[in-house]
Symmetry: C2
Subunit: 434 residues, 2 copies
């Protein structure tokens, strides 16, 4: 008999993502149209551009060897410099106006590593983190693993409701406020809602953070993973740009969405005092993300290939978004009781079914959808289950990133067919008519 293996407390708090089971379904059933997986469009991945960058970097006698040697834990200095300048440029300001330089930037293994390192640097079990309801479910798993308490603030078409946030902050007692460390916001084309935090709410959020950071500092973790995937409407300035002394906001962005997930490169721009603690942790994690990937990325950015690619990618995803929205409109007529948020960017459409429809794994809709050959993410997965209120169970996240335009149309048709099958909605004709 084997003697038992002891796992750490943290390990025992670290659970499988509820989504894993569904992803497995998709892998095992090739006929399934997955509107669940948050992957990116495969067709538009820039293989040729990366091949050219690899050739340019590796066939340069000096640069080739440098790219294959160890880098630093913080990451390639010219890349960090460029990223900080591009961020400021996107916000229409100078890096110096935000007291930012390459020193404040850390290159990471995707933005997920930023979420992890920031949480590890700041959070002890029992500390408090505020997120949106709904919000990015992978980060919920990380928070649970850290043993923290969470509060969730309702989100709508304008992102996190900062008036609800203000009410929550007023409601917290002194002891709770003393443990509040972090507010997590996906502020551009949110995962899962697709909504963007409005300008007034950006200002309000930062004002609240400042006001409540008296005895200790409350940080904002600004996850701007989808910022560059904007299809309509104006770009809004980052929360970081409302932080002129580089005190409150950790901004993170990733190249997984606008370029290629295969590189696993993201980055953070962090308040000065947080940089060294993060680097010390990252030194223990891996002492630096792939130096080779960073050199290729730098080449793609400086050659202009990256910007040209993002431009093309926006067109691809804009079309896909229009296709899925048109299909939703076609298959879920207004009197069906099904509504959705129109995203101006990103990869997701957040759909609300009538309250009596349970979209979860125990509900009839998901079973009918799987039988019809389509998969979505049950909305309940995007809510923290320790939220005081009851978790809504009538929503769904649809991703239009992966499926082709034809598959998007067919996927929505199958979803509608499943919906009409499990509800008494008179629009049954929609699926019967095919």
């Amino acid at each position: 008999m084997r003697s038992p293996l002891y796992l750490s407390q943290k390990s025992r708090r670290t659970h499988d993502q509820p989504i894993s089971y569904f992803m497995q379904q998709a892998v095992e059933n090739p006929n399934l149209i997955s509107l669940a997986a948050g992957l990116v469009d495969a067709e538009s991945l820039p293989a040729e551009e990366v091949a050219q960058a690899a050739e340019a970097v590796l066939r340069d006698p000096v640069r080739g060897k440098t790219a294959l040697q160890y880098g630093t834990t913080q990451g390639l200095a010219p890349l960090r410099d460029l990223l900080v300048r591009r961020l400021a440029e996107a916000d229409g300001i100078e890096p110096t106006a935000l007291r930012l330089s390459a020193d404040d930037c850390i290159i990471t293994t995707g933005s997920q590593q930023v979420l992890y390192l920031v949480s590890e640097a700041l959070l002890d079990p029992g500390d408090i983190v505020i997120t949106g309801a709904p919000s990015y479910f992978v980060y919920h798993g990380t928070l649970k693993s850290m043993g923290v308490r969470t509060y969730a603030v309702p989100c709508d078409a304008d992102g996190m409701d900062t008036h609800a946030l203000a009410a929550l902050l007023r409601r917290l007692n002194r002891r709770e406020l003393a443990r509040l460390r972090l507010i997590y916001v996906v502020d551009y084309f949110d995962n899962p809602t697709g909504s963007t935090l409005s300008l007034p709410r950006r200002e309000h959020l930062m004002e609240l953070v400042r006001r409540y950071s008296q005895e200790h500092r409350i940080l904002v973790l600004e996850d701007s993973a989808y910022r560059e995937l904007r299809y309509d409407g104006p770009d809004l300035p980052s929360l970081k740009s409302f932080d002129p002394d580089n005190e409150f906001v950790v901004l993170t962005q990733t190249f997984s969405k606008p370029l290629a997930p295969g590189f696993r490169i993201g980055y953070a721009v962090v308040p000065g005092e947080l940089r060294d603690p993060l680097l010390r942790l990252k030194g223990n994690h891996d002492f630096g993300s792939s130096n080779f990937s960073q050199h290729l990325l730098l080449h793609l950015l400086t050659s202009g290939a990256y910007d040209r690619h993002v431009e093309r990618l926006r067109d691809v995803y804009r079309r896909k978004r229009d296709v899925i929205l048109a299909a939703l409109k076609e298959h879920f007529p207004a009197d069906c009781g099904v509504t959705w948020l129109r995203p101006n960017g990103g990869l997701y459409v957040w759909v609300s079914f009538p309250h009596e429809v349970d979209t979860g794994p125990q509900g009839r809709l998901l079973q009918a959808a799987l039988e019809a050959g389509v998969l979505y993410v049950p909305g309940a997965f995007c809510y923290l289950d320790d939220l005081a209120e009851r978790v809504p169970s009538h929503e769904a996240r649809l991703c239009y990133g992966v499926a082709s335009e034809a598959a998007l149309r067919e996927g929505v048709r199958r979803l509608a067919s499943a919906y009409h099958q499990v509800t008494a909605c008179p629009e049954l004709t929609v699926s019967a008519s095919r």
Copy 2:
């Protein structure tokens, strides 16, 4: 005035590597010959081979897109399969004889990430880990960050002294044994001693682990980072090969040393029950290491380019090792009281000066060496400072990986000059004769 930033307990336990200061010295002083940095030979980095692999992967219409898409958290399946088969082959057995398959392998961001994840999965503050004295100092930092207690077992030319380990295990009381989770061994061409754990000690170590794993399991973390950099002598079977039921040994290896650090790819072969806990943690860290790097690596392995490269690299390092050993022999004659271990592989020579010579940052030797233009790693850095015994302060680690053959000769000459300057050794003529 800024409100204070609270850091987690773990963050407060995570310190700068003592080595950082010295690395900075090397960066700031280009005339310094660094025998300190554990980097690899730049000249032999396989830029052309990687360029060819990148072209083959990226210009294949299917594979190019796949390599740029997300991979899985566990890593590329055919790569894992190949790595497990290569490991078994190196040990002269079949994977099935060890109950191993691709399922037991996890691809990571260098082997450092294995050290971190395994520690995170197993260790709570107050748990006990056994390492060698001396051993790999970067891992010491990770252990401190975890808040664990450590015991160190003396190492000699045959690696960790397992009789001393047996004595330590006998000495531990029942409560301490209950907290003992892990024994860490760099068992091929150790960092810093260059020594390899002998065959009888391998058997003895595994026998001890088995004997003391009654109430709970004690794991062995086998860091075989340098195994493929073997220049003389026979290859020894891994500790993993003495673990037929895949119960006790986590083996880790890296491609940073035998191929290119720039990829940041390593891997672990782990006991079945530890796999899912590690994957859940890694899912939160980064949900998978660079998929692109993994595809390139798979191509280099299957095309044969990797094995040809390792063969050439062995010749390069064998010559460098011979150069540094010859220089040591020339500049430190036998009656000087300076001795060293002859490594059969790896990147390091472990030098012992007479006991009265302090090689540490406060000692005269290091100052004189810096003035002479050479840098080494003070031996004391390689001992855990919570070791019951006094930390030896008369040793040094020399790395022959980075410097050219000429620089190795000149570096050792400078070190000898510094040594003769600070000691009363009659061989002062060695430096005076130049």
